[in-house]
Point group: D2
């Protein structure tokens, strides 16, 4: 921490700041500049209240030098974190493509879409059973019934499930069905939920809040890691800016910045970051070119009749075409897109009509 004195600070004021620094068990190194004096404070300041110095007479400002997060930082773990989820590796040289509908609406919608995205090359299935909605009058999701349908889709396709959990008390229930717990953008600083997700020891897909800085994003991840749960996937999903031509502004810079600052895998959600299926393929390609470890894309077998986010959902055939383009781009950045995951034994592609062995 550096304490910057005002240009007009007196030597008594400086001495008084030095005394308080020492009273905290720290050391102060003085640098006398032409315009002002600066104190370099050395020692373990983790539990020191920095604000007390800001209130002292003659102090103009404080510059923190250490980063506020630790477990999340690349200085703590210099190599990329890599971990398996139900046979799929996350954070390695293979890109992780997650796809599926915004909401789980019914059995045939979910199973049709799940089979289609598996065939196109997706490695995990997304789908919301609990939906955060701006309006209390909008469709709020199927709840546990949706979770059961997701489990059936996993059984049929072999794809691990990524689904959102919105309240701490729902973590145990959702964790019983899901392979990856998703924490949505609106809940990025819902600390009770972050604690519960950390304690669950399940992999967590954490979305960036729409007006959260990258540093706050890493601090939110730190909450989860502080419970010993290191399997966190960071997801850029667009930030809020003055521009209204798209639903959000994709912060593509966040991809290389996050890769430089943290060891955790970083993916991008082009569906929410644009809000328009016309722009999703361009931004999905951009994310991979920028170094993302994966994508989470909304795909719907019939976007026109979707109960939510139909406008930003790709049709399965457009998604398959996109995966092909990404396969080429991946080679330019030393990554690859694996071949489609094989179906579980006893299931055939697209055979969603019949419940197996019912």
């Amino acid at each position: 921490m550096m304490i910057i004195m005002a240009t007009e600070a007196t030597s008594e004021q400086i001495a008084s700041v030095v005394s308080r620094v020492e009273a905290e068990g720290l050391k102060a190194h003085l640098v006398f500049g032409e315009e002002r004096t600066v104190l370099g404070v050395v020692g373990d300041i983790r539990h020191v209240n920095r604000e007390q110095f800001l209130r002292m007479k003659g102090v103009a400002g404080i510059v923190p030098i250490s980063r506020p997060y630790k477990l999340t930082s690349r200085e703590f773990i210099p190599h990329d974190s890599e971990f398996p989820v139900d046979g799929v590796t996350i954070g390695g040289s293979e890109l992780l493509i997650i796809a599926g509908p915004c909401s789980v609406e019914d059995r045939s919608q979910l199973l049709e879409t799940a089979h289609a995205v598996r065939e196109a090359g997706a490695r995990a299935l997304r789908g919301g059973a609990y939906k955060p909605r701006t309006s209390p009058y909008a469709f709020q999701g199927l709840g546990e019934e949706g979770l059961e349908l997701l489990a059936e889709a996993r059984e049929q396709t072999g794809l691990p499930i990524v689904t959102e959990v919105m309240a701490p008390e729902l973590v145990p229930l959702v964790a019983r069905y899901a392979d990856v717990l998703q924490i949505g953008a609106r809940n990025m600083q819902n600390y009770a939920l972050l604690h519960a997700a950390g304690e669950s020891q399940k992999p967590v897909l954490l979305k960036r809040g729409m007006s959260s800085t990258i540093e706050e994003f890493l601090m939110a991840a730190e909450y989860i890691l502080s419970h010993g749960n290191r399997r966190v996937i960071l997801c850029e999903r667009g930030i809020r800016t003055f521009e209204t031509a798209t639903r959000n502004t994709t912060d593509i810079n966040a991809i290389p910045v996050l890769k430089a600052m943290t060891h955790l895998p970083v993916i991008l959600d082009p569906s929410h970051s644009t809000g328009n299926s016309d722009y999703v393929p361009a931004i999905a390609r951009a994310a991979v070119a920028a170094g993302a470890d994966g994508l989470i894309v909304e795909v719907h077998n019939d976007p026109d009749s979707a109960l939510s986010d139909g406008v930003q959902s790709l049709r399965p055939e457009r998604f398959a075409e996109l995966v092909g383009q990404i396969r080429t781009i991946a080679t330019a950045v030393g990554r690859s897109v694996p071949a489609p995951r094989p179906l579980p034994e006893g299931f055939v592609a697209g055979a969603l009509a019949a419940k197996p062995a019912a």
Copy 2:
């Protein structure tokens, strides 16, 4: 809802949109412009999925005409909502000034501050027992012990208590102690919490999310009102912008805009909206001049040693001076600041050292 057709839309495409509108039980009125055709859609569209139209060929856009919130709107209730909280009226001609420390730290800090703000003219006491903190390593509040201290402060000063609740499962506990439940900016779209606060039937002070639009703010209030709980106070607390000279940017425009759009009382938090006690008095005065129904201000008996937000807390004497200025400004806008609330029987001003009748 207006459906805007593309300039190149064919008459078949227009006919197809009209058919679907009618299939939903609605009526379409066509307006043929020089450049394009527009459909005015009439009927109850509350449960119609508007996005289906956006996906149709030839459709360029949709313009919603109705507002998405209802119970919150001034069109629904044209007069100002006014309600009592423990003898203090909110939303009337008298301004509601809430003051107190950011966090409850210990008994003497809380009681000293509570007595001081009462004497200066505050009508309610704020203080956090549960604190949302960006860092998992920062002070997280005293929890229930803090709630007990708040109850004691109410007993001594007669001031009703405003305190934050951060998770739905804590609502019953906090509601046992608090007179007004505060929902913080980070939780403005924590829907589980909004539901729980709505069901509690307690007055709620709802803070605007730091990157929430005014419309989203009203939608969040609508969640609470939809449970039949109409005692909601809206609180502007600064939004996030590119400017870094202050912690947040006070959206002073939000005061007259909210007063025009909703019947709910609107207050401002100059402490968080500036993040700097040097600027708090100016912005507090501005809020009242702009038509706010009240203020919530951080005051600390010893800001230099505060465990949180010391930099933005006023000393009691500076707060008292501010209340004096506000008293003058209030007259320019037809409002008033009442005299200090009398002490409960058996208590004397500033007599915080001894627990009464213990």
Copy 3:
């Protein structure tokens, strides 16, 4: 300037940075922290290229300590700058209220409005002869004819004229007619124009760019002051944020922040900062309550037929009512609104129909 070394910086890298600092004729003071080393650099760094250090191996960042502006800063001139413009004092205890139409449209519109704002208490007249318009197809102003009408309005009412200049080559022409040159928000960083305005030695009303930080605003003023022209009035006019309920977001915090950082007078333009005449009075009052030295308000004798900005223009009677409210608020902050400026000899109030002595 502080140079922050990376945690993993080697002692060779630190030594190499120290050498380069010394090669620039500066001194480096080393502070060895637990996590990293910081160098305090002392000496005159005004002409040193700081970026060279950022590129050196082992350097994590640079923290500037000095402010980049000088003539504009309150550290340079500790008292408020105060200067007269044609008999009206700016920056003193009396508030400066500037009012008038967005654009000069015709003689009767301008003269009617000018007389009305003088009677209500305005001390200067605004009106645009050259208009910056987003669309090349919109009304671009009357040009020199507009300037002549403004001169006539000054002759009739005694009010000094504030009008915008949009290009450096127009500065001499506009300066012949205007008492104060206005530089608009879009031109805040039009450096050729800032230089020309500085050289003109005319008082300048400089508007903040809609996405400029307060520091950039002060740097733009520094351009003007660096030509020896210290008569600069800073004008907050709203910034661009994600909120769309109003045309801009009034940065009310900028008022106390600017007053703390600079000695120059600071005024607010509630017309552009809200874009809606319904909200103008509230924000005008707020500005004065927050400590502004004045206001610039759009007033139009017939807003319904205005060629530009009619929606945000006040009618004269609403403006007069506002001046009354401001008179009360001013007393709460130790300021005052003077009585209307007397008419020049030979003119009578509202006598606009006849050209005098024609």
Copy 4:
């Protein structure tokens, strides 16, 4: 244009709006909804003052239906605009890569860099002779001497020159040397400059203002096109948001959005949009993957000693590596990067030391 009546509008008020619409020679179609009435206004409203309606009693709002720009829109010219600049085609299937130093500093710096970028595959040379600088005390460029050096670099390498012009009166001078006039972000709404650039009939590279919407960006281009000059290249260079981890936020969404809305070529400047050479390659790749028609990249032969923007400049070898990656990505989107442009007769690669034939 749609005129939205308030829910409480009376039938007299509606009739009065209809009368005024008809007085303007337009037709009003009424749509009576359950909540409110909407008027569809038909006719040529280009020269109608829309605001007059907003001021009428009972009117709640106005929704423009037509886009405010015309010549720039894809509805006006449905195919991609493509034009040659000194033998280099812009807007076709080949990507246009522009590279060079931020500022022209001296002969050897410019020529070394020019030869290096040509060899790596750049098709045009950038370099600033006139520099917009936030501080009046910073290096402001070499002026005409810089233009002469750029002309020599073109002679030696065959690369056309892109350089910034900052004031309307400098357009003729800069146009004598430059092949493409660059208008910087700070000047995007400097209308006098846009007019002068339009009249010059030179190709113009127009940078997006850092807080300009995409619509305002297209309106600024419309100013240039309205002078009959259609050779405009649009350049996204990052927007200002709350995020401070990078200098600007690259609005990557703007690439597909602009390609959908306009026929003009769209390029991206990853140097300014990130402000950090570590992130430039990732964002350059992303832009091409998203469908950009080209890039403008800062390259410096010795970034450590650059007089401006050294931190965001690539070294030539890093730039060459980037061009290789882009060549692969281009194939995924049906584009290509041509082989290096051959040297003009009589020049040899890297032979910058000797002035030829001097």
